[in-house]
């Protein structure tokens, strides 16, 4: 009885921080905005509502005034010219009054042109992921050697490799990308370096763990033949860890391609950079196309990675 009486209030205690959070913080979070997503006409120009994200934009249209070298008789394949008349308001320089006049503009329309643009950006994204992974392996492998107890380099080296790996992993890709964009400018180079630096910490750790988890008995047996470090590694360690190294590398590749879609948002190249640009221009249909493309690529990547893993384990 006594114990129960003491327990009862204690059990309800977790409610206190939750109630405090709702009371104090909820107003500051402006949750009312969720409703704006479904508003048909958004009140402010910078709020789109979800409706403006539909339909996805897949064509490109370019004012031919901007294409002086275009020959109307020899258009690029699959494209057409479209003429539209639209009222434009302009300031009359003489009267200084705004007048409205009808203006005719001609557009070069490529019906699937934007899909092509997105595909190119997507290829760039995957390239960033691949290069980032290559960089991570090249930088991470020496770290793994230094870090591994089984390889047995001097203890001070093991400790410093351990610290380096942890430090590299602690640097979020997005942050490194942001700093690098500041340091070396927009574009995929910053993305590759950011992904590579972060993932090198992972590779260093995963590979070293694989070396250390290997059966040490055959390794000692080959070491006892007086063979050199490199030979011992190749003959006794590598066959044991090959599968783990492959799956760790695959994991990093998967992760890097996903990450590569995101880091463009800070200007580090790839599809993310395109997405950020379109949102900034209120071109929400384009944004939808990009998001769908990312979704498809990541889903395919998922399947591909699962397939490889299955093949490896069999």
């Amino acid at each position: 009885m006594k114990a129960e009486a003491r327990l009862m209030p204690k059990q309800g205690l977790w409610l206190v921080p939750v109630v405090a959070l709702i009371a104090l913080s909820a107003p500051r979070m402006e949750f009312g905005r969720v409703g704006l997503a479904f508003a048909s006409d958004a009140s402010a120009p910078d709020i789109a509502g979800l409706a403006r994200f539909w339909p996805p934009q897949i064509e490109t249209r370019t004012d031919i005034a901007n294409l002086p070298s275009l020959d109307p008789d020899r258009l690029p394949p699959f494209s057409r010219l479209e003429t539209s008349t639209a009222p434009i308001r302009e300031l009359d320089p003489d009267t200084l009054e705004t007048t409205t006049r009808m203006s005719q503009r001609t557009w070069l329309v490529s019906p699937l042109g934007y899909l092509g643009d997105v595909a190119l950006r997507m290829v760039e994204t995957i390239e960033i992921g691949l290069w980032g992974t290559l960089l991570a392996v090249v930088a991470g492998l020496p770290l793994a050697f230094a870090r591994s107890r089984a390889i047995g380099l001097p203890f001070a080296l093991q400790i410093s490799a351990r610290l380096s790996c942890a430090a590299l992993r602690a640097l979020p890709e997005l942050l490194v990308a942001l700093l690098l964009v500041g340091a070396i400018g927009f574009g995929p180079t910053a993305g590759v370096l950011a992904l590579g630096v972060h993932a090198a910490g992972f590779i260093g750790r995963f590979y070293a763990d694989a070396f250390d988890d290997a059966d040490q008995h055959p390794i000692e047996a080959i070491r006892a033949t007086g063979a050199g470090r490199m030979s011992v590694f190749i003959v006794a360690v590598l066959p044991q860890v090959r599968a783990s190294l492959a799956s760790a590398t695959l994991y990093i590749l998967d992760r890097n391609v996903r990450m590569a879609t995101v880091i463009g948002i800070v200007g580090a190249g790839g599809i993310g950079q395109e997405l950020k640009g379109r949102i900034d221009l209120y071109e929400f249909g384009h944004a939808t196309t990009i998001v769908i493309a990312i979704f498809i690529v990541v889903a395919i990547l998922d399947e591909f990675a699962a397939h490889l893993r299955k093949r490896q384990s069999s």
Binding site: D215, H217, P218, E220, A221, I222, A224, T225, G226, A227, G228, M230, S231, V232, I234, V235, A236, P239, Q240, R242, A243
Partner: protein, 240 residues
Amino acid sequence: MSGTGFSISVRDLSLRHGNGDVVLTGAAVEVAPGTICALLGASGSGKSSLLAALGGRLAPVAGQVLIGGRPMISRSRRRVQARIGTTYQDHRLVAQATVLDNVLAGLAPHVPWWRCATGRYAPAHLTRATDLLERLGLHAALHHRRAGSLSGGQAQRVGIARALVARPSLLLADEPIASLDPQTARDVLALIAREARESGATVVCALHQPELAATFADRILTLHEGAFRAGVEQPQRSAA
């Protein structure tokens, strides 16, 4: 790679394991080059530990091990180790590598590492490896199997092939026939003896069968209570 066998000098040797288990105290023995020794002793008497000390894998607490006149604790022991072949009680094969690669691993100190990496061994080395496997009763169909999928007796013989492939000057064999049937056991011991005679190698072979030891060995060493038991050596050198 062939050469004369190593002499062995064990002087006042004391061994202790990491957990404090004292194994040998003041053991001493001299073995002439080319002698085939059987190492007998009850389970736990320190046979495996002695072999580890002879191979430079276990540092003595006191005393000395000289192989071919060189101390096995010196920095230069790797040169000596390259001429020692070792088989282990628990085989110690690389389970994920093939049978043939496990045997060729015994050549690791003698070939450049890139040959190990690419598998481009000299034809003479390859024939030596496959020939040894054949003579140990492991036929071609097995050579490309993963070592981890072998039976105990098959793995044991792969370990013997690995130890012999580089024609060592000293063979340290830890119960090399423990997992074999009696007939195969006799064949394997005969093969080891013949290899040793051909290259003049010295052999120290831990065994549990005194009767096999008598026919196989030139000399019998018995470990008892941390030292070599005196007076039971038989100088019966077989004519073969």
